[in-house]
């Protein structure tokens, strides 16, 4: 690893693509920035951060100091935002029932900060969202968090200020249960996945506003078209291109930002760093997966091992044995593996668009590595993914008259004609003629049993929401007293995101009455996938029959889906409700939920 003499001015040449994806072996935080300016403290003494040995803080009284450090994951030394000098932030480890005191000090120069405890039930003024829960933490000041832990499981914490989460402010939060867990394990590891960029996250946001398709180097080309003509015939190929062309969209838009910008990290370590978690043969190892990525869905598997998922978003589920799972930003899954027969296994976490991966190793000792699998083929979105498969033909691309999709992909169709179709959603009036809504779904389903884009029929058992079921019955029990339907909307090219076509800045709060049980219906009217997180209360996902199914804090919404969940409004206050793709939230896909008496 080399460090420029004056960080911030010395910019080594752009790292090679391979290096960019795999990162550097000894990557990590290289130094805290001295408060007096950009001159780093002695690098040699600082060493390459805390790779492989995360700091664990388990006292009930914790001091966290948020500051700027230098990090190097790609060969370039860049500024990062860290907690107690580490990226990811220290693991917080507490016990259910404890009352914890966390003093969070802000040593950033000129920027307020905050910490949100993702998925924790706590008073609103401890939730850490500036402008809703508190005023944020001004530079040079500190905030005293204090709350009682009313739950157990795997959670995480992160900044809720601007783009600080992207710059490194995220860490694992584990709460041990009072009652023993309903499963046995001998050893455990936290696996925190994230995405790192050498760019200033604010500049990355501005780039998205100028050219949202910047990272999509996978668009279909003229040679692709000629291949499709040979394979499918002229009519089918032109019908397909014509339909996407009328929508002004591209089926390779899987993720807004991919490995052309990001280096993916596992516990703060790039693939080349080979993070290693140890096991002994015959042990049951609990892996606590957390997706702390700002914009990245990961598809995770450990070749050679079955995984038994025992908890989702910190809450126990009926164990389900799988080969692979997709984890949305902000979700957590606890899985148990029983490694035996090999000395090393690769934890392989490719991004949903198949542009890069995070990886680490489970091994009997350090220094081992199993082969890293090839990334899967890049998926193409289908009309069914887009909520445009209206059941008229198995292949909606062929033979279906899509002329109506001109002018905003159905925005002007007048959906009365589909009134009889139970899958056809009724769209809010605020979407009609709205320049910020570039498409609407015409046929949506919960798709709870769908492994998702790029995971169908891949020969592996893939986790679905349908396969996960809370270990407990609906703790509230009541039927929802009312229903609120919200549509996820956006405009790809403008990089504008919203609920019902109304960005956060223009939206009224969604008001809930204290104590009520209500149902939220989400319909995805975009071609992107969105993890939707409601602060303060649980999101109890319903099955296709409208029954309690799975308790979560973050509900993933693939394109073309309509999913419903129950909310028990038992936490007074003002709560953030948003897409957990950081740049979608900042671009407007957020609401305030206000629970009032």
């Amino acid at each position: 690893m080399s460090f420029p003499k004056t960080p911030g001015t010395g910019t080594p040449p752009m790292p090679s693509r391979r290096l960019f994806v795999q990162g550097v072996a000894a990557g990590g935080v290289v130094a805290g920035l001295a408060a007096t300016g950009l001159s780093p403290r002695a690098f040699a003494a600082a060493g390459p951060g805390l790779v492989g040995a995360p700091q664990v803080l388990s006292s009930q009284d914790v001091q966290l100091s948020i500051g700027e450090s230098l990090a190097n994951f790609t060969g370039r030394t860049r500024p990062a935002i860290t907690v107690n000098g580490s990226l990811p932030a220290p693991i917080l480890r507490w016990r259910e029932g404890q009352t914890v005191n966390i003093r969070v000090a802000n040593t950033l120069r000129g920027h307020p900060t905050s910490i949100h405890w993702h998925g924790l039930l706590l008073p609103a003024n401890m939730d850490g969202v500036p402008g809703l829960s508190f005023n944020g933490i001004a530079p040079g000041e500190a905030y005293q968090y204090r709350f009682t832990l009313k739950q157990s499981g795997t959670y995480w914490y992160h900044s809720h200020s601007m783009f600080q989460e992207q710059a490194g402010l995220y860490g694992a939060l584990i709460i041990d249960p009072l009652e023993p867990a309903p499963y046995h394990f001998d050893r455990e590891h936290v696996i925190l996945l994230s995405d790192w960029t050498d760019l200033d996250p604010g500049a990355l946001f501005r780039r998205m506003k100028k050219l949202a398709e910047y990272d999509n180097y996978y668009k279909r080309t003229l040679p692709d078209f000629l291949r499709d003509v040979r394979r499918d015939g002229w009519a089918a190929a032109t019908a397909d291109r014509g339909m996407w062309g009328r929508m002004r969209m591209t089926p390779t838009d899987i993720s807004d930002i991919n490995a052309h910008t990001y280096t993916y990290l596992l516990n703060g370590t790039a693939p080349a760093g080979n993070w290693t978690g140890l096991f002994r043969r015959g042990e049951k190892v609990l892996l606590r997966f957390i997706n702390g990525g700002s914009m990245t869905y990961f598809d995770v598997r450990i070749p050679g091992l079955k995984m038994t998922v025992v908890a989702a978003d910190g809450q126990y589920i009926h164990p389900v044995s799988i080969d692979e799972f997709r984890i949305a930003p902000a979700e957590t899954f606890d899985v148990i593996v029983e490694p035996s027969g090999q000395d090393a296994y690769t934890i392989f976490c490719q991004d949903m668009g198949r542009t890069g991966y995070a990886a680490g190793t489970l091994a009997v000792r350090h220094g081992l590595q199993a082969p890293i699998p090839e990334r899967d083929a890049r998926p193409l979105l289908t009309m069914s993914d887009m909520g445009h498969d209206m059941g008229h033909a198995s292949n909606a691309m062929a033979g279906h008259d899509m002329k109506g999709m001109e002018g905003g992909c159905g925005a002007s169709m007048g959906h009365g004609a589909h009134g009889a179709d139970p899958k056809a959603p009724r769209h809010p009036a605020s979407e009609t003629g709205n320049p910020l809504v570039d498409m609407q779904s015409m046929a949506t389903e919960p798709k709870l049993d769908d492994p998702g884009i790029g995971l169908r029929d891949n020969g592996r058992d893939v986790l679905t929401y349908g396969a996960m079921r809370s270990l407990f019955d609906d703790p509230d029990g009541r039927e929802p007293g009312r229903e609120v339907e919200l549509h996820l909307t956006g405009h790809m090219e403008k990089f504008s995101w919203s609920f019902d076509g109304i960005p956060f800045a223009s939206a009224e709060p969604l008001r809930l009455n204290y104590g009520e049980r209500m149902r939220i219906v989400l319909v995805n009217d975009t071609m992107m996938q969105h993890p939707i997180h409601l602060h303060g209360v649980w999101s109890d996902l319903e099955n296709a029959d409208g029954e309690f199914h799975l308790r979560k804090h973050t509900i993933d919404m693939p394109p073309g889906t309509r999913r419903t969940y129950r909310v028990r409004a038992d936490a007074l206050g003002r709560w953030a409700y948003h897409c957990h793709l950081l740049y979608h939230m900042e671009a407007g896909m957020m609401r305030e939920v206000r629970i009032e008496e």
Binding site: G131, F205, K210, P435, R482
Partner: protein, 372 residues
Amino acid sequence: MSRSPLIALSALSAGLLLALSAPAWAQSHAGHANHASHATTPTPTPTPTPTPTDAPPADDGNVDHSQMDHSKMDHGSVDHAQMDHSKMDHGSTDHSQMDHSTMDHGTTDHGKMDHSKMDHAAMGHGVPKAPAPTAPLEPIPAVTAADRLAAFPPIDHGAMEHAPEIHSMLLLNRLEHWDGQHGTGQAWEASGWVGGNINRLWLRSEGERSDGRTESADLEVMYGRSVSPWWDVLVGVKQDFRPADSRTWAAFGIQGLAPYKFETSATAYVGEGGQVAATVEVEYELLLTNRLILQPLVEASFSAKDEPERGNGSGLNKIEAGLRLRYEFSRRFAPYIGISHERMFGDTADYHEAAGERARDTRWVAGVRVWF
């Protein structure tokens, strides 16, 4: 032909009026006070259905057992301890022919029967599901004064930082040297915007130099407003700096992405001296690879009035068609080479030929496309 610019102009004006009267989506904070209400549809709380009281666990509801003959049954030697009733499907059982009259239950040991796994709900007996409670199983905690304080602390205005809503972009779509049949020169076409998702200030400029002389140069400053997901309406001014004496125009236009991803703009101009002109431009991007991109372009200009002194005839003045092949070393920097053909029509061609110029030209071009 001479009428078409007027038709285009009136169509554009009508479009513009419509656009300006459209609701100010997402721009006004005040206009959305009623959104919460349209999103909220109260549904009636389901009334609890009565629970069948003292219903035996396997009561078949509507099955008529009256014809059953159980007389021949001998349960004496049955060992029920190993019975697994979990897979029993009572829904499809036909009990009507059963004769129970000779059943001897005397020695049956039912004590070890495990019915705990029986799923009566799935048996389809028509037993109503237990109704959802109207009170929560986990009681809702009573709110204390301390809770209220913690729930709604005083918050400073502006405590929440927001990502900027105003953005900008400057695109030099063409910055090129050309080598034609009748000379060489340079040309540019640039556009830029500053603003939000809906309202933007647009700058557009186009010009050409030939043999060291600036032949044409203009700058447009326009207010643009999105009126649909794909179309902006623009209104503003255009200043010609060349040719000859400069001229100021009022400009009305639309621009956007037409179906099939054709980058399109159409602008009408009303100039000093009552001239009316129009320009239509269509651009497309054909991906040979994801970095090697062929960009065809067609631009046509029209005038309503004959202006011999400026070399403009009425009707179609000029069509320019180009084909540029660029390589995107990065998204922001792409050098290109290409060919461009320009042809004047009608009186415009005649005026230029009379002045010793050629009415058509084919040029090789080389340049860069960059944006910031």
